[in-house]
C-alpha cells in the first residue's frame, strides 16, 4: 500500500488529476452551503458576461447565475458518474467472476449475453431505456450502469480465467474452501487492480454520457446538470459563448482529471511497472 502511494504520488499527472478532482468534489459538496438559493433562481439580466457585478461566470439565457449552476451541476455529474460506475462494476464483477471461475457452458452463456449488450449501439440503447423508464436521475444511473457493465465483466472474466489456474487457487480448493470464499477472498483481491483502473476511467465516461443525455433533454427537468446547461443554452451559443463553453469546460476538466487518476492508478497498480 505504501509502495502504491509512493508511485502514485510521485508523478505529476495523477497528482494534478487528484487535486483537480478534489476541488470539484469540494465544490459539489459545498454548493448548498455557498449558494443556498439553488441554481434555478433568476438573479439578473440574461446573458450577462462573466465578471459582471456579482456574477463570476455570467448569467444564462434566463438570467440565472452560471457559477451556481456549475456548482450544482457538479453534484449531478459526480453523483451519476460514481453511482452508475458502482452499479456497472457490481454487475460486471459478479457476472465476470462467475463466468471466469466456472468456465464451461456458464461462461459461454454469460459471454453471449455480454456480447449482446456490446454489439448494440450503447447510446441508442441508453436513450431507449431512459425514455422508457421516464427521464429521471435514477433512470439515468440505471441506464448507464446497464450499458457499461460489459467492459467490467470482460476484464474481470479475463483476470479470473488466468487466476483460477494458479496454484494458490487450487490449494484453496484442496483445503476444502467453498467456491464463494475462493472467489471473494482468494481471487477477487488479486483481480482488483485492473477493476479499479477500469472503474476510474468509467466514471469519466459516465459523466460524458450523462451530459449527452441531458443535452438531448433526456434527464430530470428538476435538476440542473452540465449537459442540460449546454442544451438549454445552445440557441445563445453565438451571442454568449460562456453559456455553453463554461459547462463544457467543466465536463472536460472533470473527465480529464479522472483519466489522469486512472492512468496513475494503472501505473501504480500494474505489477509489471513496479521496481
Amino acid at each position: 500500500m505504501r509502495h502504491f502511494l509512493r508511485i502514485f504520488l510521485s508523478r505529476p499527472i495523477p497528482l494534478a488529476g487528484l487535486a483537480i478532482f478534489a476541488v470539484i468534489v469540494a465544490l459539489a459538496l459545498l454548493a448548498p452551503l455557498l449558494f443556498a438559493r439553488g441554481p434555478f433562481i433568476i438573479v439578473g439580466m440574461p446573458l450577462l458576461p462573466p465578471g459582471a457585478p456579482g456574477l463570476l461566470a455570467g448569467s444564462d439565457v434566463l438570467g440565472r447565475d452560471m457559477a451556481v449552476g456549475l456548482a450544482y451541476g457538479a453534484r449531478i455529474s459526480l453523483l451519476v458518474g460514481i453511482t452508475s460506475t458502482l452499479g456497472a462494476v457490481g454487475i460486471g464483477v459478479l457476472l465476470g467472476a462467475v463466468a471466469g471461475y466456472y468456465g464451461g457452458w456458464l461462461d459461454d452463456l454469460l459471454m453471449r449475453v455480454t456480447e449482446f449488450f456490446q454489439i448494440i449501439p450503447n447510446f441508442v440503447l441508453l436513450m431507449v431505456l431512459v425514455a422508457f423508464l421516464q427521464p429521471s436521475l435514477s433512470s439515468t444511473v440505471i441506464g448507464i450502469a446497464l450499458v457499461t457493465w460489459p467492459q467490467v465483466a470482460r476484464v474481470v472474466r479475463g483476470e479470473f480465467l488466468s487466476l483460477r489456474g494458479r496454484e494458490f487457487v487450487q490449494a484453496a480448493r484442496t483445503l476444502g474452501m467453498r467456491d464463494g470464499a475462493i472467489i471473494f477472498t482468494q481471487i477477487l483481491p488479486n483481480a482488483l487492480p485492473p477493476i479499479i483502473v477500469v472503474g476510474s476511467m468509467m466514471v469519466g465516461s459516465a459523466i460524458l454520457t450523462e451530459s449527452a443525455l441531458s443535452f438531448l433533454g433526456l434527464s430530470d427537468p428538476n435538476l440542473l446538470s452540465w449537459g442540460s446547461m449546454i442544451g438549454g443554452s445552445r440557441s445563445a451559443m453565438w451571442v454568449a459563448w460562456w453559456t455553453t463553453v463554461l459547462p463544457g469546460l467543466a465536463i472536460m476538466i472533470t473527465v480529464l482529471a479522472l483519466n489522469f487518476i486512472g492512468d496513475g492508478l494503472n501505473d501504480a497498480l500494474n505489477p509489471r511497472r513496479r521496481r
Binding site: 459461454d108 494458479r166 496454484e167 494458490f168 487450487q170 490449494a171 484453496a172 480448493r173 484442496t174 483445503l175 476444502g176 474452501m177 467453498r178 470464499a181 482468494q186 483481491p189 488479486n190
Partner: protein, 531 residues
C-alpha cells in the same frame, strides 16, 4: 595459449535498493579456444549476468561499472553499440533457456535463421535458405526442408532448442554462450542436446561458455569450471580438479547437496493400503464447441496403492500424465473412469458436498513457490484458511499455525509477513505448513523441489521425509528427476504417455530397470558416467 576471451575484474552494479550492491563482483575468467567453460551457480549467483555482459545484453538499469572483457584485442565493454552489434551473432552467439520464448512465434523457422545470416552477410535468400537447411541437418534434425517452412509451435522442445543452436551457429561464431540451455527440457532431451553441443564444439573447434546450476552437466561437459556465489567466483579450475578435489567449502556443500541417484530407503513393510487407485482414466477433449478433435488420453488405466508411512514416487517426463494423476487423486480434476479409494470412500465419483469433509485427509504441496501462495494474504491467513474452511476455532488455529511454522523450520514471527518477503525454499515450507495444518493422512507433492536450487532442494527433501515419518503420512511424490525420486521414495512408478511403464521398490528399479524407457531415463541423468 592466448585466451579467446578474457574477463578481467568485471563489476556489474545493481540499481540502488537491490539486496546487494553488485550482481557481479570483480569476476575474472578466461576461455581458451576450443574449450568448454562452465559457470556453475545457484540462482542469484550472477552467472547469467556475467554471460549477458559479454553479449552486451544486460537488462535495463544494470550496467558493467568497471572491468574489461577482452575479445581478440578489443574491449567489449568499451565498444559502441554498433561495434557490438557486428560482433554479436557473427563472433559470439547465444542460446537461451526457453527456446519457445526465444523464437518468434509468428515467423517461420527458415526466415528466422536466414534473417540472422543476412544481417551480417550479403547473400541471396535462396542461398541463405540452403545454408540454413544444411545447419538443421547438422543438428540432427530430419527433413530440414520441411522444418524451414514450419512455425516454432509445431516443433517439440528439443527440436526448438536444436533450431536455436543452428541459428547460433549459422555464422560460425568463435564463442557460443549457452545460458541454461537444457533447463526447460525433459531429461532424455536434455541428454541429447548436451551431446549435440559437445559434438558441435569438437567438430568446429569453437569455445563454449555454458551456464548451468547442475553439477551433472558440468561433469559431462566442461573442460574447466568456475563456481559462482553472490556475484563472485569462489573457485575455478580444470573440471576434474574442482569436482574431484574441491578447495572451497561452498563447492563442497554444492557437491554434497547433489542427489546421488542411489536409493537409500528400503521398501517399508506391506501395510493396509490407505489409498487405492483402480483403473483411473482421464481424457482431455480438444477443440471447442464446433470442432471435435480426438481426445488426448492423459491417464490410461492407472492402478496403484499407497500405505501409511510410505512414499511412492511417480516419475515421468512432461506429458506423461503424472501431474494429471496427482490432480485426479486429490479430485482437482474429475477422472473419466476408475476409482480413487481413500479407505472405503471413492473420491473420484463422490458428490462435491460429500467430498468436502474428506478433502482435509488428502493435502497437496505445489510446484511453483511463486504462484502457490496468495500474494495478498499474510502467511498467518494462508495457514488458517484450511481450519477456517472447516469452521474450527480461529484462535486455536493461529496458535497451531505458529507451531507449524516452527515444524517446517521457519520462525513463528513470519505469520504477519507477506509471501513476497520469502525465498523460493521458504515459500515451499509455507506451502507444506498450509497442507499440514489440516492434519492430513495423505500428502501429494507435485514437483515440490523442481523450482529450487540444489542446496535448498536437499533441505526441503529432508524436511518432507521428516514430516512424513513424524506424521506417518502416505506420500505421493511427483517428479521428473530420477535423482530426486531416489532420494526420498520407497517405491517408484515410471509413467509415459499416460501409462505405467514400470513400478517397484526404488532400489530394484534403479539397480535393474526392466523397461527400455526406464533405462533411457537413468542413462540420461547428467553426470552419471562421471561418478
Amino acid at each position: 595459449m592466448e585466451p579467446l576471451i578474457a574477463i578481467q575484474d568485471l563489476v556489474v552494479a545493481l540499481p540502488p535498493g537491490a539486496d546487494r550492491a553488485h550482481a557481479v563482483d570483480r569476476v575474472s575468467l578466461t576461455i581458451n579456444p576450443n574449450e568448454i567453460l562452465c559457470i556453475l551457480g545457484e540462482s542469484g549467483s550472477g552467472k547469467s549476468l556475467t554471460a549477458h555482459a559479454v553479449m552486451g545484453l544486460l537488462p535495463r538499469g544494470v550496467s558493467a561499472s568497471s572491468g574489461h572483457i577482452r575479445f581478440g584485442g578489443t574491449d567489449l565493454l568499451a565498444l559502441p553499440p554498433s561495434g557490438l552489434r557486428k560482433l554479436r551473432g557473427r563472433d559470439i552467439a547465444m542460446i537461451f533457456q526457453d527456446p519457445m520464448a526465444a523464437l518468434n512465434p509468428v515467423i517461420t523457422i527458415g526466415r528466422q535463421i536466414t534473417e540472422q545470416i543476412r544481417a551480417h552477410r550479403t547473400l541471396p535468400q535462396k542461398e541463405a535458405l540452403a545454408l540454413a537447411a544444411g545447419l538443421l541437418a547438422e543438428m540432427g534434425l530430419k527433413d530440414p526442408k520441411a522444418l524451414l517452412k514450419s512455425f516454432p509451435h509445431q516443433l517439440s522442445g528439443g527440436q526448438r532448442q536444436r533450431v536455436m543452436i543452428a541459428m547460433a551457429l549459422s555464422l560460425s561464431p568463435k564463442l557460443l554462450i549457452a545460458d541454461e540451455p537444457t533447463t526447460a527440457l525433459d531429461v532424455t532431451t536434455q541428454a541429447q542436446i548436451l551431446k549435440l553441443i559437445k559434438r558441435i564444439q569438437a567438430e568446429r573447434e569453437m569455445s563454449v561458455l555454458l551456464i548451468t546450476h547442475d553439477f551433472g552437466v558440468v561433469a559431462d561437459m566442461a573442460d574447466s569450471v568456475a563456481v559462482m556465489r553472490y556475484g563472485r567466483v569462489v573457485e575455478s579450475g580444470a573440471t576434474n580438479d574442482v569436482l574431484g578435489n574441491p578447495s572451497h567449502d561452498y563447492t563442497r556443500a554444492l557437491i554434497a547437496a547433489v542427489p546421488r541417484g542411489e536409493s537409500r530407503l528400503p521398501p517399508p513393510a506391506e501395510g493396509q493400503p490407505l489409498v487405492q487407485v483402480k483403473g483411473l482414466t482421464k481424457r482431455f477433449s480438444r477443440g471447442g464447441f464446433f470442432s471435435r478433435a480426438p481426445a488426448i488420453v492423459a491417464l490410461d488405466d492407472i492402478s496403484l496403492s499407497l500405505s501409511r508411512g510410505e512414499t511412492l514416487g511417480v516419475v515421468g517426463e512432461s506429458g506423461s500424465g503424472k501431474s494429471t494423476l496427482a490432480r485426479c487423486v486429490i479430485r482437482l480434476l474429475d477422472p473419466d473412469a476408475g476409482e480413487v479409494l481413500l479407505e472405503e470412500a471413492d473420491i473420484a465419483h463422490m458428490r462435491r458436498s460429500a467430498l468436502r469433509p474428506l478433502r482435509r485427509r488428502i493435502q497437496m504441496v505445489f510446484q511453483d513457490p511463486f504462484s502457490s501462495l496468495n500474494p495478498r494474504q499474510t502467511v498467518g491467513d494462508i495457514l488458517i484458511a484450511g481450519p477456517k474452511a472447516y469452521g474450527e476455532d480461529l484462535k486455536e488455529a493461529r496458535r497451531r499455525a505458529a507451531d507449524m511454522l516452527s515444524l517446517v523450520g521457519l520462525s513463528p514471527q513470519c505469520l504477519n509477513r507477506l509471501p513476497h518477503e520469502f525465498s523460493g525454499g521458504q515459500r515451499q515450507r509455507i506451502g507444506l505448513a498450509r497442507a499440514l495444518m489440516l492434519k492430513p493422512e495423505v500428502l501429494i507433492a507435485d514437483e515440490p523441489v523442481s523450482a529450487l536450487d540444489v542446496t535448498v532442494q536437499a533441505k526441503v527433501l529432508k524436511l518432507l521425509d521428516d514430516v512424513r515419518r513424524q506424521m506417518n503420512l502416505a506420500m505421493l511424490f511427483i517428479t521428473h528427476d530420477m535423482r530426486v525420486a531416489a532420494e526420498i521414495c520407497h517405491r517408484v512408478m515410471v509413467m509415459r504417455h499416460g501409462r505405467i511403464v514400470e513400478q517397484g521398490p526404488t532400489k530394484d528399479v534403479f539397480a535393474a530397470p526392466s523397461s527400455d524407457y526406464t533405462k533411457a531415463l537413468l542413462a540420461a541423468i547428467p553426470g552419471r558416467q562421471a561418478r
